[in-house]
């Protein structure tokens, strides 16, 4: 699944600035719809440790009314969470009606780490997938809008990022680099991720793969996906979406009649 992802996509500065501004405005509007319609929304960022979701989350939240969203950083469980089922802490942190809950890391992290490091048997892996699907189904049945992002970058990109720190090769989830130097481990990792993406893309919530080699591309893709999903789920077109800047530019030299036709079409 991940092999077929085109990582070469990128954005120039002009497009990036225009799109970020547009989508942030739309997101603002949609976040108020979330509140007005009293629906919860759940946004998940997941991926190897070497790709950070910091900027993506910042682009989402920076211009949002802070009443409408809550961000949960997910590290290793501690305290009372350690003494319960692994999904307990996520049940606790679910967004209530009218709020957008953003998870930096999620219920997928532990199972992937233990799968790749060989601590999770086939049976345990199947159980984890089943429990997660059940969890997401119940959350979606309640009316929660579920959006899941898998961050994916090429090996070269990750090498560049990591070498800046301590010259570590292909570091994923803070494993010692020795683990990642072995091709079998990398393959096990790829297999686990592919299987997980495949088996947990359900009606309740499907994955969007974010090509993260180009930071700007990744940010715009996250924002636009979020806007589209929310807009579809809430059955609400943000006002600013009606003037699509790309279309507007193309239409500008065209005759008045042509633009009139377009308007009629939209009314239908």
């Amino acid at each position: 699944m991940l092999d077929s992802v085109d990582l070469s996509q990128s954005l120039d500065r002009e497009t990036y600035v225009r799109d970020v501004a547009l989508y942030q405005l739309q997101l603002q509007e949609l976040s108020h719809q979330v509140r007005a319609q009293n629906r919860p929304a759940l946004v998940v960022f997941e991926g190897p440790d070497s790709i950070s979701a910091d900027d993506l989350i910042l682009r989402i939240t920076e211009n949002l009314d802070p009443h409408t969203c809550i961000v949960h950083p997910i590290d290793d469980p501690d305290g009372i969470d350690l003494a319960h089922h692994h999904l307990y802490r996520f049940w606790r942190r679910l967004p209530p009606r009218g709020k957008i809950g953003i998870f930096d890391g999620s219920w997928y992290r532990e199972m992937l780490v233990s799968r790749v490091s060989g601590h999770l048997s086939d049976e345990g892996w199947a159980r984890a997938l089943r429990e997660i699907n059940s969890f997401e189904r119940q959350v979606a049945d309640f009316g929660t809008i579920v959006v899941k992002f898998w961050l994916h970058a090429s090996l070269d990109e990750r090498l560049q990022q990591d070498e800046g720190e301590e010259g570590v090769l292909y570091q994923v989830w803070e494993f010692p680099s020795a683990v990642w130097n072995s091709p079998e481990r990398r393959e096990a990792y790829q297999d686990a991720v592919n299987e997980m993406l495949f088996k947990t893309s359900t009606l309740s919530g499907s994955w969007t793969i974010v090509e993260s080699d180009d930071g700007w591309w990744a940010e715009v893709k996250t924002l636009s996906t979020l806007v589209e999903t929310l807009s579809w789920a809430l059955n609400y077109q943000p006002r600013t979406l009606r003037i699509n800047p790309v279309e507007a530019e193309q239409e500008a030299p065209a005759s008045k009649k042509a633009s009139g036709k377009k308007k009629k079409k939209r009314k239908k």
Binding site: P40, H84, W91, R92, P96, S134
Partner: protein
């Protein structure tokens, strides 16, 4: 399913009181062993109104170390609880590893009272069976021992018990404010109960049917069942039972009874 419950089963008060101290000591020792070996238990009490679940819960918790069990009573979801998926409030009350959680009424509310009284939509309660089974399976796979009791009474017995209780206890009759209205709908409830037992009796969370005509019999059965299930789970890690002197506890109870009769 429920017609198979033998409602004539009885245990005399004297026999029950003779067994109780031993049973409670056994449960206390088991509880200690469970804490040491991280054996987690979840005990659910469901039953007809007035079938004596409260007394059974009291008998169960009486000998337990209060630091290691939690008793949760379940009523209609209210306030912030309604802002989340319906099972969340029960997830928050799941027992920590090595502890015991006791639910006086539970998530089964949804397929019983909420179904019959129309408080939940048909789609909501129909979906609930699946949610419940997956919830219990997740916990059981995580090592939680789940014990579920249904306290059974026939409609006639429910009425007789409640009337008797109205005379001789402070609680009086049925506990639910609409208890008597529900009593009239006994047969509607019976359909819901049967379906619940059928659809949520899983190999990871069995129902134990308790004939509740004799409260002494019911209490004894509850304590025995919980003890047996914990013993089975502990396997080789059985606690050693010390012989204790019950005479002091006996004397205290007698003194309490004497004081009560004066009051």
């Amino acid at each position: 399913m429920l017609e198979k419950v033998d409602l004539t089963k009885k245990l005399s008060r004297a026999d029950y009181e003779a067994r109780l101290p031993g049973l409670q000591r056994r449960l206390r020792a088991l509880q200690g062993a469970c804490a040491d070996h991280k054996v987690t238990a979840l005990v659910v009490f469901e039953g007809w109104d007035g079938s004596g679940t409260n007394g059974a819960i009291h008998a169960l918790t009486n000998g337990l170390d209060p630091r290691r069990f939690r008793l949760h009573t379940t009523q209609a979801a209210q306030g912030a609880e309604e802002d989340y998926p319906w099972l969340r409030r029960f997830w928050l009350n799941t027992p920590a590893y090595g502890e015991m959680a006791i639910f006086d009424r539970s998530w089964y509310r949804r397929v019983l009272i909420e179904r019959v009284e129309g408080l939940a939509s048909e789609m909501a309660w129909r979906k609930a069976y699946r949610d419940i089974n997956e919830f219990e399976q997740s916990l059981a796979d995580d090592g939680v021992t789940i014990v579920k009791f249904w306290f059974h009474l026939s409609q006639g017995k429910q009425k007789r018990q409640a009337k008797k209780r109205r005379q001789d206890s402070a609680e009086g009759g049925l506990t639910h404010p609409d208890g008597w209205k529900h009593h009239k709908k006994y047969n509607e409830y019976l359909v819901a109960v049967e379906e619940m037992l059928e659809r949520t009796d899983s190999k990871w969370a069995r129902w134990t049917l308790v004939p509740a005509t004799s409260r002494w019999y019911a209490r004894n059965l509850v304590l025995e069942t919980v003890a047996a299930r914990l013993e089975a789970r502990l396997g080789d890690n059985q606690p050693t039972l010390e012989r204790a002197d019950d005479s002091i506890a006996d004397d205290i109870r007698k003194a309490m009874e004497a004081a009560e009769s004066i009051l």
